[in-house]
Symmetry: C2
Subunit: 362 residues, 2 copies
C-alpha cells in the first residue's frame, strides 16, 4: 500500500517543518519546496487538475490541508484584476438609515463572496474625493455611494466621472444627482412626501408646516416638492412662512419654536425623524399636545420614531432593501462586464416606501 507509506513519511516530515516555519501563512512556493515538486504542480493539485497524478495530488492536498493553506487574496486580486471588494462611500455611519443600507449591502455582498470596504466622507467634499481616489487605485471593483452634502452643494462631480471613465462601475443611492450617468437606487421622495402630507390632510389637518433641509440636499428638495404638490392638489393655500429649512441641527430648536408660535398650525411634516422629535419636544414645551393639537409625521423610519413619546408616524424607506438592491446592481454589472463591454444601459431603481402609522398622528 504505497499510499499509506507516503502518508507516513509525509507526517513525520510535517512535524519537523512545523518547528522551523511555525504557523505563519504557507505559500505555494513553500509547499512546493517541502514536497520537492514545482509550484505549478502544487497549484494544479489543489485545484484538482487531472494533469497531476493521483499520488502527488493527494499528497499535496493533505499537506496543504494540514498547514491550512489558503490562497493569498492579494495575489489573486492582482492576477485576476479584480478584488471581490465593494467600496462604500457614505456621509456618516452613526446614522440609522446609512447603517441600515450598509447592512443591506453587506448581506448581498457576502452571499456573493464580496467584502465591503467603507469610507466616510463626513459630508465633506474633500474627504469624499480623497477616499474615492484611494479606493479607485485597485482596491475595489466598484462603488456604492451616497453624496456628501458639500458635494451636492458644490455640484462638483468630477471625481465620480473619473472613476466611471476608468471603467469602474458606480451605484448611487439616496442622495444622487442627475448629472452623473450611472445605476441608482432611490425612493420616490416626491411621491412619498406627497402621500405623507395627503394622509395629514385626510385626517382633517388644515395648516401643515414643513421642516426640511436646505435645498441643495437633493432628497430635501424633492420632499419639499411633494409637500407643495399635495397642498396645491387639495386647494390648500401654500404659505412660504410654513416652510423652514434647517441648516444646523444644533440650533434648530429655536427656529422650530418660533414656527410653532403660530397656533393655527395643526400638523408638521418633517423630512427626517430628528426634526420630528425635536418638533414634538418643542411642542410639548409650549403646551401643545401631540397628536391632539399637532400631528407630526416624519420621513425615514428609524429608532427614534419607534421609541419617542409619542411614537412617530413615519414614511419608511427600507435601507436594507436599498442596500440589497444597490449591491445586486453593482455585482450584476461587475460579473457581466466581461461579456459585453460597456453597454451603458443604466437603470434607476425606485424602492417602495410605506407609511407607518403611530401615535403622533391619529
Amino acid at each position: 500500500m504505497p499510499l499509506i507509506k507516503t502518508n507516513y513519511i509525509f507526517i513525520t516530515k510535517i512535524i519537523i517543518i512545523n518547528f522551523t516555519i511555525m504557523k505563519r501563512k504557507v505559500t505555494l512556493k513553500q509547499i512546493a519546496k517541502e514536497l520537492d515538486v514545482s509550484i505549478s504542480t502544487v497549484s494544479k493539485s489543489l485545484r484538482n487538475s487531472l494533469e497531476i497524478g493521483e499520488d502527488t495530488r493527494l499528497k499535496v492536498q493533505a499537506f496543504a490541508k494540514f498547514y491550512n493553506y489558503k490562497p493569498n487574496n492579494i495575489a489573486l486580486s492582482l492576477k485576476n484584476r479584480k478584488t471581490k471588494t465593494i467600496g462604500i462611500i457614505i456621509p456618516e455611519i452613526v446614522h440609522h438609515f446609512f447603517s441600515t443600507v450598509i447592512n443591506g449591502i453587506e448581506q448581498v455582498a457576502n452571499e456573493n463572496g464580496y467584502s465591503v470596504i467603507i469610507c466616510l466622507s463626513d459630508d465633506s467634499f474633500d474627504k469624499e474625493v480623497l477616499n474615492m481616489e484611494m479606493l479607485a487605485n485597485g482596491s475595489i471593483d466598484g462603488f456604492i455611494m451616497s453624496l456628501s452634502k458639500e458635494t451636492q452643494f458644490k455640484g462638483d462631480f468630477h471625481h465620480i466621472t473619473e472613476v466611471i471613465d476608468q471603467g469602474m462601475p458606480v451605484v448611487m443611492f439616496d442622495r444622487v444627482t442627475n448629472e452623473i450617468l450611472c445605476d441608482k437606487v432611490i425612493i420616490d421622495d416626491k411621491l412619498s412626501a406627497y402621500e405623507a402630507v395627503q394622509s395629514l390632510i385626510d385626517k382633517g389637518r388644515k395648516k401643515i408646516a414643513l421642516v426640511t433641509t436646505v435645498d441643495y440636499v437633493s432628497v430635501g428638495k424633492l420632499r419639499t416638492d411633494g409637500y407643495i404638490k399635495a397642498l396645491l392638489d387639495n386647494n390648500i393655500p401654500f404659505d412660504e412662512n410654513l416652510i423652514i429649512k434647517i441648516e444646523d441641527v444644533d440650533t434648530c430648536e429655536i427656529i422650530i419654536g418660533k414656527l410653532l408660535e403660530d397656533k393655527a398650525i395643526d400638523a408638521v411634516f418633517a423630512v427626517n425623524e430628528l426634526f420630528a422629535v425635536i418638533c414634538i419636544k418643542t411642542a410639548n414645551k409650549i403646551g401643545l399636545n401631540v397628536p391632539k393639537d399637532l400631528a407630526v409625521i416624519a420621513f425615514t423610519d428609524g429608532i427614534i420614531s419607534k421609541y419617542s413619546t409619542p411614537t412617530i408616524t413615519t414614511v419608511s424607506q427600507s435601507g436594507i432593501k436599498m442596500g440589497n438592491k444597490a449591491a445586486k446592481m453593482l455585482i450584476e454589472r461587475l460579473e457581466s462586464e466581461h461579456e459585453d463591454e460597456e453597454e451603458e444601459n443604466y437603470k434607476t431603481e425606485v424602492i417602495e416606501t410605506h407609511l407607518i402609522e403611530r401615535e403622533s398622528t391619529s
Copy 2:
C-alpha cells in the same frame, strides 16, 4: 529651450494616445512604452530618484500627471506584504454604539493612511469565523473586533488564536474575553455600573431593579456584578427577583411589565438604553411617573436616551474614543512589528465613562 520643445512633442503625443488607450488606469509599463524608456526609469522618475536625468524625470512626471497615474494598491500590497487595511468584525452595524466605534476607528485609520474593511457577524459564530478567515488571507494587516454573542456563549475562540498565531495582530473591544491574549479596549463595566447604581442610592432610591442581558454576554455580566456590589456596599439587601435577564428584545416588554408590578421598586438600572426606554414606556402604561415614581438609568449613551421622553440618564461610554484607541493600538503594533519581533506586551486600555444626568433621574 529644449524643455519646451520636449513638452511640445510630448503634448501632441498624448492626444494621440488619448484616443487609443482611453482613460483606463495607466500602469508604469504603459508609460514606459509610450515614452520609450524602461519601467525602472519611470518608477524612479516618479519617486524623484536622482539616478534619473532631469529631462527624463520631468518628462515622465508630466506624462504621469496628465494621465493621473496612481500606483496600483494591490500591486503595492503584494510587494510590501502589507495592505494598509484594517479589518473590523462586529456583531451588528445598525447599532449606535458599534457605529460610533467604527467612526472612531475610521478617523484614526484615515489619518494614518489606512482603510477599513468591515464584516458583520450578525452575532453568529459561523459568520464570525468565516469573515475572519476571508480577511486573514492577505486582505488586511490586522483585526479590530468585538465578539459575537454566540462566540461568547460557545467560548470557542480558535479562529482568533489562529490569526494571532499567524502573526496578525488583533485588538478586541467591548465584548472581549480573557481567554485570548491580545490588546484590548474596554470600559470598566463593573465600576461604571457601580457608580450608576450608587448615584441612584444617593438620590434616595431604595429598591433598585436591574434589567440586564443573559450572563454569557461579558459586559452584561460585569455590569450585573457592579450592580450587586453597589447594593452590598450600601447594605441594601440583594434580591434575585429584582434582576431580570433579557434574552429576546421583542418579548421583553412583558417581562419588564411583570417586574414593575412590584410598586416598591423605585428605580431601574438597565444595561442598555433600549431596555431603559422600554422600561419607561411600560412604567407610563401602568401609571407610573418617571422619574417621580421610578428613576431610570441606562448604560450606553445613544440617540434614544437623548430624544426619549423623559430623556434618560446614562452611563456614557464614548465609542469614538474606544475606536480611536483601538485603531491607535493596532496601527502602533503594525508599524513597530518590524523592529522588534513578537514582543508580546499586550495592553488592556480602559476608557473612562461618565454619568450624563438627564430627566429620568432627579
